[in-house]
Subunit: 228 residues, 2 copies
Amino acid sequence: MNARVLVAEDDPKQANLIRLYLEREGHSVLVVGDGRRALEYSRTRRPDLLVLDVMMPGVDGLDVCRILRAESQVPILLLTARSTEDDKLLGLDLGADDYITKPFSPRELAARVRALLRRAGKGGPATGAPVVVGDLEIDSAKFEVRVDGRPVTLTAKEFGILEALAAEPGRVFTRAQIIEKAFGFDQYVLERTVDAHVMNLRRKIEKDPVEPRYVQTVYGRGYRLAQS
Amino acid sequence: MNARVLVAEDDPKQANLIRLYLEREGHSVLVVGDGRRALEYSRTRRPDLLVLDVMMPGVDGLDVCRILRAESQVPILLLTARSTEDDKLLGLDLGADDYITKPFSPRELAARVRALLRRAGKGGPATGAPVVVGDLEIDSAKFEVRVDGRPVTLTAKEFGILEALAAEPGRVFTRAQIIEKAFGFDQYVLERTVDAHVMNLRRKIEKDPVEPRYVQTVYGRGYRLAQS
DNA sequence: GGTATCGATGAAGGTCTCGTCAAGAAGCCG
DNA sequence: CGGCTTCTTGACGAGACCTTCATCGATACC
């Protein structure tokens, strides 16, 4: 599924638990310990979903929720220690999409995250129409790529990279950007890794990998997908 | 979807919350504060769905449910503060279509409303003609699957998975999506459970389970039903 | 032209995913 | 209740895939 989830939780023990269970579900998880950083990261990294602890020192989860809701549509899941009706009403009024009371089962957390992502339309393969660039056709829903109508089988990462570049044909993406878009923002891999995948990708979709028609190298910058 | 929903709830705070979330889903909402008015409005305005609080002064939700059920097919969702099984049985006995206990999450409310509307809109559980993929025939209405015309007996989950994949042959579904589509939105099971069912399913419908013709694995993404 | 940086390539090792099996839990029916 | 089916989960191994490393060639800049 590979969604990018930002978790704001001040108790490191809890935070690690949450990270563990979300990662086991295949999500990329970034953990911050306070509300200020939650705001900062959600603005700069643009995660697909936020998990906010209500009780945090300084800027708490409710504050973050209220502030972010005014500027973004990102799905928000609130964690609350108490289970009083008032708390729930308050949190939901502030624009949270769902809440879960501690202690919660890992499965429940995972299921609620899944449900929110699905509702937001980020819960897996995209549903939109295939992207067409010249003789290259990228169908995210079917996880299928065709060159001149001939289907080509790609691996998950290869497909992810192609998808990332196809988001804006012609635009140059740095390796760091590609890693973030295609792999998830908490993946700490060497930038060279992208090169390896690009090479494999070219072998599959380019007629002449030495003179690539689709995935082009921009020296010193990164890669781009040729415009049609 | 954009349905017209009548909400009967005597607590204004709760009522506003429900209104908020149903409107966010794109429905138009009319709120009344007691059972008498719920009856009146549902007769005159003919809403597409009713959300009734069980506990209301005067004519309560159960009364409204019983009375309306005698004169209309409108889908009814009951809200109750307690979660005893007795209440549930009582409510459903009286003709309610679904039941949700407070406090509930907006996502759950939205999901149940969606489900009820879908059921009502498509005029029954079974929809349309059987799906045919190659020599595979899936008849949702009859809960029946045939391979080469020969009927095969599947379990509920196996059938559910096959049905979910058949919704869009060729499209890749993640395990999370399959769980939601086939098992229900509030099932907290491990994703690997899907694998087990898929294996059993393949044993029944594939001639060579090692080289599946129908239910195909897409490494790193999920499963798909082959296109015919 | 010389040098430093960058990218392409192939191979090796490690990691992850999936299929398979089996045991226990849960549900169903008489 | 007892027996049966079905569902869920854990473990394990094979294979696919990912990442890294080392090397060579290409490119930019002086």
